[in-house]
């Protein structure tokens, strides 16, 4: 309320004080602004005329300016009307209020003071706006609301248009629309700005506006298009009850700048949340699909604030999408109902499944209620995001995210429409989930293959055992028959040799079968005992088994220093130690160059370890091959050149196994002779065993 300047000399003479209220004319409205520019009131001109006629201005202002209305004694009427201002005189008893102004000074006075106050008002409004826009905690809706107040609009609305789905979706606003989504094909009033090259239009609302403009007294609007991404635009509208409502270019630019900035800021903030969520998601174990799925849906729902999250995957018969895990406020984890979506029926979920889009948003009502779904988790699929789950380009499922509910009037709830952040999230989630699901499937495939291999291996080994044992018995029987029945010496010698061959073969086959239990030994954490006798359990069995074989096959003899091994016990697993030792001995024999010199095996105790040395005059191992020979598929160049066959389990596997027994294998010398060292932890000593 404007109160005119005081004139002290005149004041004393007049007992009743006067005040002048100055109204600023704004397009058929009258604007009353307080002297400090902080408060304002709009009165339509028709109403104003009526109030002036009835002298009820103060009654109107009662709620806005209670102080003033209390001190007004009498309303006099308009004392001056200019192009932009109207001066209205009232009488007041309060002495601090103003003096009567001289009539001839009114026009200049009113004009200059009015301009001053209006400028203060404008400045304050702008400051208020900028202050609000600079608040980090202000939401996008707060921003738009601030612009609405600044421009003295009577309402606003924000819609988003997705070029891929060709659907406008309502975000928020003053006048709730009749529906939350509009297809482009419905030729709505939005299409005008979408199709034009202009980024803003100013006109009266058309009949095809999505809310009842007339009923709300809206007579004009400003509509602004704000590009958000390659596939999305925001349509921001400000509504007014004035017949002519205009934004200048500077204001439009300001609106676009800040709204776009806020959306970008929200995306950045969201990136941080997504980053944290990603890290947590990567921590979820991928050994078990069900456990992973359960944790996935809960994590996404809670961290990214979705009302419900559901993961569906293709059934093995490829006929249905099955709900694997689902989360909402009242339910989480593996659903207790067997929920299926037949691929033969054209539902939203099936459409997402068949889509090539990384992220797809639907805001359509699922009219095909033939889907079987759990009421609590699947009800009302309006406004949810569907993400196709793909492995190497092939669709295997769908991840669905439903936005939070928001409360309407009373108890009615509606789902918030997809936000710009949701599309962004959908893309990131899609990448992450797809990679994790792929890893799980690959792991399952690998495990299946390993199981098949393992089963085959077990069956194979099992089948071999009996024939090998039988060979042994047959050989014994021949031996017994030779002794029992009359056979010539010559025939006996021949048969003896054959029996030896059979024995050797049987022994070797038996050892090969044992070696191929290695996967069982390793995977079931081989039992380690600290009383594996070096001589009884490792050296003797191998010498007995292979003594003849090495002589016949390689013309190699072994010189074993039994004395160095007497009473030595190591910590290990007998079978594994045998396999390692055999492999190294086999290598020594196979690559031997100087067959006149036997392969020497001896041991030494070294602090807490037992070192077993295998020394042979084998082919040279070059310096650069020292490490290579312990690599998977690694062989020395000379070995390859000389076309020596590979057998045994290889040095790489020896190294793997011996390290699990807390031992080590190393090359101590490269040639003349080649010396390999096997090191095992010492076990209980012979003396200690006797003392038990």
């Amino acid at each position: 309320m404007y109160i005119g300047p005081q004139n002290t000399s005149f004041h004393k003479k007049v007992k009743i004080m006067s005040a002048v209220i100055i109204f600023y004319k704004v397009q058929n409205h009258y604007l009353l602004v307080s002297v400090d520019g902080k408060e304002s009131v709009f009165i339509p001109s028709k109403e104003m005329n009526l109030l002036i006629k009835k002298k009820q201005i103060t009654k109107k202002l009662l709620t806005q300016c209670p102080k003033f209305s209390r001190v007004v004694e009498k309303e006099v009427g308009i004392i001056q009307e200019l192009d932009n201002y109207v001066a209205y005189l009232v009488h007041s008893k309060v002495p601090t209020i103003i003096k009567l102004l001289f009539r001839k000074q009114y026009p200049l006075f009113v004009e200059s003071q009015g301009e001053k106050i209006i400028n203060i008002f404008r400045l304050n409004s702008r400051n208020k706006l900028l202050s609000r826009l600079s608040e980090e905690s202000a939401s996008l809706e707060d921003y738009i609301e601030s612009f609405c107040k600044y421009t003295m609009s009577n309402g606003y609305s924000l819609w988003l248009y997705d070029y891929r789905t060709k659907v406008y979706t309502y975000q928020f606003g003053t006048f709730h629309p009749s529906k939350d989504y509009v297809y482009y094909s419905e030729n709505s009033s939005f299409n005008e700005i979408l199709d034009s090259h202009c980024s803003s239009i100013m006109r009266e609302p058309s009949n095809s506006e999505i809310f009842n403009a007339k009923a709300n007294g809206i007579k004009s609007m400003v509509r602004i298009k704000i590009p958000m991404s390659k596939s999305e635009d925001a349509i921001l509208s400000f509504y007014s009850r004035l017949e002519k409502f205009v934004f200048d270019n500077a204001l439009i630019a300001l609106v676009k700048q800040f709204v776009a900035m806020k959306i970008a800021y929200s995306l950045t903030e969201n990136e941080y949340v997504m980053e944290k969520t990603t890290k947590e998601l990567l921590k979820i174990g991928i050994d078990d699909l069900q456990l992973f799925s359960n944790e996935l849906v809960i994590l996404i729902a809670k961290k990214l604030q979705y009302e419900a999250v559901t993961l569906l995957l293709l059934t093995p018969n490829k006929k249905y999408l099955k709900v694997i895990s689902s989360y909402n406020l009242g339910f989480n984890g593996k659903p207790d109902k067997y929920i299926l979506y037949p691929l033969s029926k054209d539902s939203l979920t099936v459409k997402v499944f068949k889509s090539d889009e990384v992220s797809v948003i639907y805001d359509l009502n699922d009219v095909d209620h033939s889907n079987i779904f759990n009421e609590e988790t699947e009800n009302n699929p309006k406004s949810w995001i569907g993400i196709p789950i793909q492995i190497e380009g092939k669709s295997v499922g769908v991840l669905r995210l439903k936005n939070k509910f928001r409360c309407m009037e009373g108890n009615e709830k509606t789902v918030c429409p997809p936000r710009p952040i949701d599309r962004h999230n959908a893309y990131l989630i899609s990448q992450l989930v797809n990679s994790q699901i792929t890893a799980i499937f690959k792991l399952e495939e690998l495990n299946n293959n390993l199981e098949i291999q393992s089963n085959f291996s077990k069956v194979f080994r099992h089948e071999l055992r009996a024939p090998i044992a039988t060979i042994g018995y047959a050989s014994e029987n021949i031996q017994s028959a030779i002794e029992k029945y009359t056979i010539s010496e010559k025939d006996k010698r021949y048969l003896d040799l054959k029996i030896k061959d059979i024995d050797t073969l049987s022994n070797r086959l038996g050892f090969i079968v044992k070696t191929y239990t290695i996967d069982d030994l390793i995977s079931q954490s081989a039992e380690v005992i600290d009383r594996v006798s070096l001589l009884q359990d490792i050296i003797f069995p191998l010498s007995n088994l292979f003594g003849h074989y090495y002589k016949d096959q390689y013309n190699v003899t072994f010189d074993i220093d039994h004395n160095s091994m007497m009473g030595t016990y190591i910590k290990g697993n007998t079978d594994l130690c045998n396999i390692i030792m055999n492999s190294v001995m086999d290598n020594a024999a196979k690559y031997i160059e100087n067959k006149n010199k036997p392969v020497k095996i001896y041991s030494q105790k070294n602090n807490d370890n037992c070192d077993i040395f295998i020394e042979s005059y084998s082919i040279e191992i070059h310096d650069e091959e020292k490490e290579v020979i312990f690599d998977k598929d690694g062989r020395g160049k000379v070995a390859i050149y000389k076309k020596k066959d590979g057998s045994g389990i290889g040095l790489w596997l020896c190294k793997e196994i011996i390290s699990r027994l807390d031992g080590n294998i190393s090359l101590e010398r490269r040639y003349d002779p080649v010396i390999f060292k096997l090191q095992f932890p010492l076990g209980a000593s012979h003396e200690n065993i006797n003392n038990r």
């Binding site: 055992r465 009996a466 090998i468 044992a469 039988t470 018995y473 014994e476 029987n477 050892f511 239990t517």
Partner: protein, 127 residues
Amino acid sequence: MKILIIDDDKLLNKNLSEALIFKGFDVSSISSSSEYMEIEETLINYDAIILDLMMPNDTDDLAVPGDLETGEVVYKRIIKKSPATKILIISGKDKDRLNINLDGDNSVYLSKPSGTKIANIIRHLEK
């Protein structure tokens, strides 16, 4: 010494029997669960039984639960029927995967093929 060999592998059964006969043992052999059920009442006549664990079950008279081998069920029946009889279990199944508790000193586990050489079998029989 009277020995009964129970193994479904007829070739192994035959050769093992012959090998033990050569060594002076009195050997009988059967190769199925149905045959076992027929001779079960005569178990006490044997000093030792050489038993293979992995056999098919060809009779309804012997109930073999899903988690046990036929030979494992037969083993349990033998120690119930004739607790004093020595039992040498010969098997390709690893010892730590047996679903039976070996009965004290009367039962020995021998792994095919390394543990089932004639000399080793005889050593255990004569213990």
